[in-house]
């Protein structure tokens, strides 16, 4: 489940981004049900993600979330902000902290997406994701590439030139 602060009425203008812009801020809750659902959807049935005894035998504190569930969930705030998911042309991360998920209750994955860089000639923006559970960073160097639309004034200049 995801909750986001009430968005600004102004929709995100991808043609006018600046480095440092915060694109999304969201809290995603992860519980055992979410891990089971992700195991089914992804085909990753590693029992450390649903069986405490197996997780503990493997040296873990208990069941932990799939790294890929954390990665897949962490980008969804940005996806909501940009609308069209196909604008994400790259996404990468390191897994820096495991996410134990208790048998009852839930944990909160807090994610903030910020414009880290803009490449005008490539027409892309790098968006950096900060993902934290209980104050601990769980994803390192998590970044997505967004394909940006042409800037409005460039598109208008092209149209005028072609007229």
């Amino acid at each position: 489940m995801t909750t986001s602060p009430t968005p600004d009425a102004r929709p995100l203008d991808l043609a006018a981004l600046s480095v440092g812009d915060e694109l999304s801020r969201a809290v995603h809750t992860l519980d055992r049900d979410a891990l089971v659902r992700y195991a089914g959807a992804s085909g990753d049935f590693n029992p450390i993600h649903y069986n405490d005894a197996v997780a503990e035998q493997a040296g873990l504190p208990g069941v932990i979330a799939h790294g890929m569930l954390t990665m897949g969930t962490a980008i969804t705030g940005l996806l909501e902000a940009v609308g069209d998911p196909t604008l994400v042309t790259a996404y990468s991360t390191r897994f820096t902290g495991m996410v134990p998920v208790p048998a009852t209750g839930e944990v909160a994955l807090e994610v903030v997406a910020t414009v880290g860089a803009i490449d005008e000639s490539a027409g892309t923006a790098r968006v950096d994701l900060a993902a934290v559970v209980d104050g601990e960073k769980v994803l390192g160097r998590a970044r997505a590439t967004l394909a940006l639309p042409r800037r409005t004034q460039d598109a208008e200049a092209d149209a005028a030139g072609a007229a």
Binding site: T2, R37, G59, M71, F95
Partner: protein
């Protein structure tokens, strides 16, 4: 993580009885496997995966919305291809000569390069390569890449995965 039981310690190969080593073979760096079988992207899996990760766009779950946006069918969220990539990486697990004990494996990094939207019904050909096998601090870091192409050979996406194999 790649599927498989999380058994602890060295395991006997079920066929030969030999003990599986815990050291990935550095000679595997640079190796490319033959292309895997064609995989058809599933609409049902796209919907499940979008729901499981909380991906909000109707393009993932509503074929009419996806078609209105110019796609043939529902569109995959950005990390969906991990399932196909890991199934292809499993070829490595079954290649015993490579020497990986999956009880010692921790997922280190993952990256997706998405050249084209991935849409239900797409037929993708996966090819696995080893980008590197390196050692640091008593552990081994194995980076694989799965390239996904359409049946005409056009690149659709690449998924890179770095696994840390903990040393003794």
């Amino acid at each position: 993580m790649i599927g498989g039981t999380a058994s602890v310690g060295p395991r006997a190969d079920p066929t030969s009885g030999d003990t599986v080593t815990t050291s990935p073979d550095p000679a595997f760096a640079g190796r490319t496997y033959p292309a895997g079988p064609v995989h058809t992207v599933s609409a049902a899996k796209i919907v499940e995966f979008a729901r499981a990760t909380g991906a909000p766009s109707p393009l993932h779950t509503d074929p009419e919305a996806a078609r209105a946006a110019g796609h043939a069918d529902v569109v995959a969220p950005p990390t969906l291809l991990v399932s196909l990539a890991q199934a292809t990486e499993a070829l490595y697990v079954e290649d015993r000569a490579a020497g990986i004990d999956f009880a010692r494996v921790v997922h280190g990094e993952e990256s997706f390069s998405l050249h084209l939207p991935v849409v239900a019904g797409d037929r993708l050909v996966p090819t696995l390569s080893f980008e590197s096998v390196r050692a640091a601090g008593g552990h081994a870091m194995v980076t694989t890449r799965v390239d996904l192409a359409d049946e005409d050979g056009a690149e659709v996406a690449a998924v890179r995965s770095m696994l840390v194999v903990r040393g003794d």
